[in-house]
Structure formats: structure tokens, C-alpha cells
Symmetry: C2
Subunit: 245 residues, 2 copies
DNA sequence: GTTGAAAGTGACGTAACGTAATCTTGTATA
DNA sequence: TATACAAGATTACGTTACGTCACTTTCAAC
């Protein structure tokens, strides 16, 4: 029989917690002193450790109570249920992660966020997975699919995607200058280099991408991140100037 | 100005929620009727959608209030903070997933769970990542590392690992029979086949694995899942019998 | 016996509503 | 226009797993 102080010292668990576990009858003390102070034995210490461990697995106290007090608890089933629950949580977290990265990238490019618009995009994106695939197959051939994966994806932030985003963001920032301004032309040159690095000489593929990119509807259909019309026009003009030299 | 009923119909948000948002001053109605019924305008509808969207990103209502009412809110910083938070949550979830899978596999093999023991194993495992690597390098050569990855890992549940676990679990189940019993020998044969399938003719590597496996200390050092001594002895005997025929 | 630390018992606060009870308002119909 | 019934208002308790007072009592050392 050891005092509550000993228990907290050995386990790092607070007095309040032990009191609460007593209150909800999850872990009553082995006994009490005359004055009413709680006393714990070896068995209680072990149970306490079990409780702590099960908590790290995401079970709540009610479930833990069931598991530890019911002698015929079906551990296989219980663990599987918990794993299912955890997998759903994981899905949610991964989606949040992806959306947050997309928002941050969009912020870099556009300099602002229209939450309602973004939300609509996301809902649309979630709904039409099947349709989007069909459209992609319509505009691109199957042997283009590897190349499609190389296009910047707003929901990632690998270094490659980040550079594309940085470049587009810089273009947008300098749009007030003429399309032949040296800053613009420097950015275009870097975009040109990076295009060659990434896609080599697949001109046919790039032409198709550009065709889709220039059409807001087609872009939406295949799930490209929306870029405003004047930005696209500006880019095309600057690109043509670069190509002339 | 539309009624609360219209709002719930359009957004799917409950009356209670709207009342709560009014109460905490996150989204006060645009006005009220003479009798005190809440009325909302277009602006409020939009804000409501924004709130809902930000909630899906894991922000709490206090943060959302800050974001939407503070005109100079630093979105880049706010999103990055949230992403950091989410990444930590993801880490936790992944760890839980791995532990749960390990527990389920352990349950299949041993038929029971000693929570305190498993917890100790996990704590040990977390602490000594560095040491474990050193021990592995000591017992195995660098060119064995790919083969080490092929060994069953308790924290996964790919089909391969699952078959190893099922086989070991079946062995354990029939341990009361003699090591030359036909059931046992069938299982050993399958283990033999699978060993060849997986590791080919790397006999040297398998000898080293078996050497570590047979020593409880070495197994602990490199992080192998602990298997009881009598089980190991039983397996070795059955294996020898199989090899004689 | 004194005294200071440790423990006891309430009780409130937390986040974001759900739910129930009771009362009032809005509106469609007779 | 009186009435009935749906919809809304207010109030308040429940939820999870404790943290944090405030105040009182017990324990252990001197």
C-alpha cells in the first residue's frame, strides 16, 4: 500500500487524475487511511499503466473501463474497431493537410484567398473524380499520364511544385510592368528552362496542356488550378516575346 | 433578409448552431423581427460558409473569429501554424496506427496481450533508435539491409507480413502436438517455401537472422518482436525434422 | 503540541453544440 | 378575424478528462 504521492512520483500522473479515476469508478484506490487519504497497491499501479497505454491508442475512458473490467472482452474486435476509427481520422487529417498546402500555394500565387470560392472548388473537385478522369482521358492520351503527374499540383509542396508556384507568383507581382520588361523576361527564361528540364522535348504534350490551360472550362473540367484570364494573356504575350529572341 | 429557416435549408446548419454563433458573437444576425426572430442577409450567409470551410481545416471558432474579423490577419502565418499543428496530429495518428497493427499481430501470434509489457517494448523501441541501428550494423552487413526489410514487421499488415504472422500463430496453436505431427510439418513446409520465395538462396543471411532470433538479448537489441524460448526450441526441432526428410 | 506540506472536498471552466422543457411568435386556414 | 399549429426564443443541463481555485482537514516531522 503506497500513498498517492508515491503513485504520482512513479507514474507522473497528477493527483487530480487519480481522484477523477476514483470518481468515475475506473480505478478506485485499494484502501483509505483513517483520515480518508487514498492508498494504492501493486494491482492498481499496473492497471494505471494499462490505462495510460490504452489512452495513447486513442481509446476514451469509458471504453478502457469496459476493456479492463470485462473479463471476456473481445480484443481482436476492439482493436480492429479502433483501427477503423483511426484510419478515418487519418483520412481527415490527410485531406486537411492537402487543402492547407493548396491554400498556402494559392495565397502565394494570388496574394489573397477567396474562401467561399476555394471551398466551391474543393467540393467540385471531390464530387467529380470520375468525370475529371474522363475529361483527362479525352484531352490527353494514356501515354501522357506520367507527364501529367509532373505538372505542378497545388496540393503538394515538394520543391519542384514550390518553384513553379514561386515563378507564377513573381509573374503576377510584376504584371503591372510590360511583358518585355527585363524582370518578366528573366522569369520567363527560368520557366522555359524548367519546362525543358521537366518535360524534355514533348512539345505535343505541352501544346495540349496550354490549350486546356487557356480555356477556363476545360481547365475546370480536368481540375487545373484556376488562373485568371488576364494573367494567362500576359503570360502568352511575354512568352512570345521571349521566343522571338 | 431571410429567416433562420431559410438559412438552415440552404446551408444545412442547425438552428442551435446559428444561435450559438450569435451567442458568442461570431455571427450576429443582420436584424430581428418585432417578435425577436433572427434575420440574416447575404453577407451573413457568406460568412457562414467561410466559417464552415475554416472549420473543416481544423480551426476552432475563436481562431476563425480572429481570422474573419481582423482585417490585417496574416493568412500566410496562420495557415502555416495550422499546417504545423496538423502535421503533429498526423504524426500521432500514424504512431497509433502502427501500434494498433502491432498489437493485432501480436494478438494473432500470442493469443493474448500483456499491455504493460507491450508498452515497455514500445517505450524501449522509441528511445533506442540510434542504439538499435548500431546493433543491426554490428550483426548484419550493409548489403543485408534490403533483406532485413523483407523480414516480417509487426507494425505493418501487408499480405506478406500477415502470412508470416498467420503461420507462426498456427505453429503456436499446435505446439501441444509433437514436432513431427503432420499439421506441424505442413506449416513448416509452407514456412520453408515462403523463405525460399522471399530470400532465395541467401543462406548466410538467414543463418545470421536465426542466430539473433535465438538469443533473447540480441533480438531485443535489434528490435525483433520477442518470441518465447520454448516456441523457438519447438520450431528448431520441427525444422530439423523437416530437413531430414 | 505545533506547524507546514500534502491531501481532502466542492465547484467552476473548457468546446461546440445536442437535447429537452417551457413559453412566445408567425402564418395559413376556416 | 379567430384559431391552430409550426417554428422560434430562452433557459439550462449534458458531454470529455481533467486544470485550477478556494477552503478545510490530515499527516509526519520536530
Amino acid at each position: 500500500m503506497i500513498s498517492i504521492k508515491e503513485v504520482t512520483k512513479q507514474t507522473g500522473i497528477s493527483v487530480r487524475t487519480l481522484r477523477y479515476y476514483d470518481e468515475i469508478n475506473l480505478l478506485p484506490p485499494a484502501g483509505k487511511t483513517e483520515g480518508g487519504h487514498r492508498l494504492y497497491g501493486e494491482k492498481e499501479l499496473k492497471k494505471l499503466q494499462e490505462i495510460q497505454f490504452l489512452k495513447t491508442l486513442g481509446f476514451n475512458l469509458k471504453e478502457i473501463d469496459d476493456m479492463l473490467s470485462n473479463e471476456n472482452w473481445d480484443w481482436a474486435q476492439g482493436l480492429e474497431n479502433q483501427l477503423n476509427y483511426i484510419m478515418k481520422e487519418k483520412e481527415k487529417i490527410l485531406e486537411i493537410e492537402s487543402t492547407l498546402k493548396g491554400l498556402m500555394n494559392g495565397l502565394t500565387i494570388d496574394g489573397k484567398i477567396d474562401l467561399v470560392y476555394v471551398n466551391k472548388l474543393i467540393q467540385l473537385y471531390k464530387q467529380d473524380t470520375e468525370k475529371r478522369k474522363l475529361y483527362k482521358e479525352q484531352y490527353f492520351h494514356s501515354h501522357d499520364s506520367e507527364l501529367l503527374d509532373l505538372l505542378p499540383n497545388m496540393n503538394r509542396n515538394d520543391p519542384d511544385t514550390l518553384e513553379w508556384i514561386a515563378l507564377i507568383g513573381q509573374l503576377k507581382q510584376h504584371m503591372n510592368k510590360g511583358s518585355d520588361a527585363p524582370e518578366i523576361q528573366r522569369i520567363i527564361r527560368r520557366i522555359h528552362e524548367k519546362t525543358i528540364e521537366t518535360f524534355g522535348d514533348n512539345e505535343g504534350f505541352l501544346d495540349k496542356v496550354w490549350e486546356v490551360r487557356k480555356s477556363p472550362e476545360k481547365s475546370r473540367e480536368v481540375g487545373f488550378y484556376p488562373i485568371e484570364q488576364d494573367m494567362l494573356d500576359f503570360f502568352e504575350k511575354a512568352w512570345d516575346i521571349f521566343m522571338e529572341n
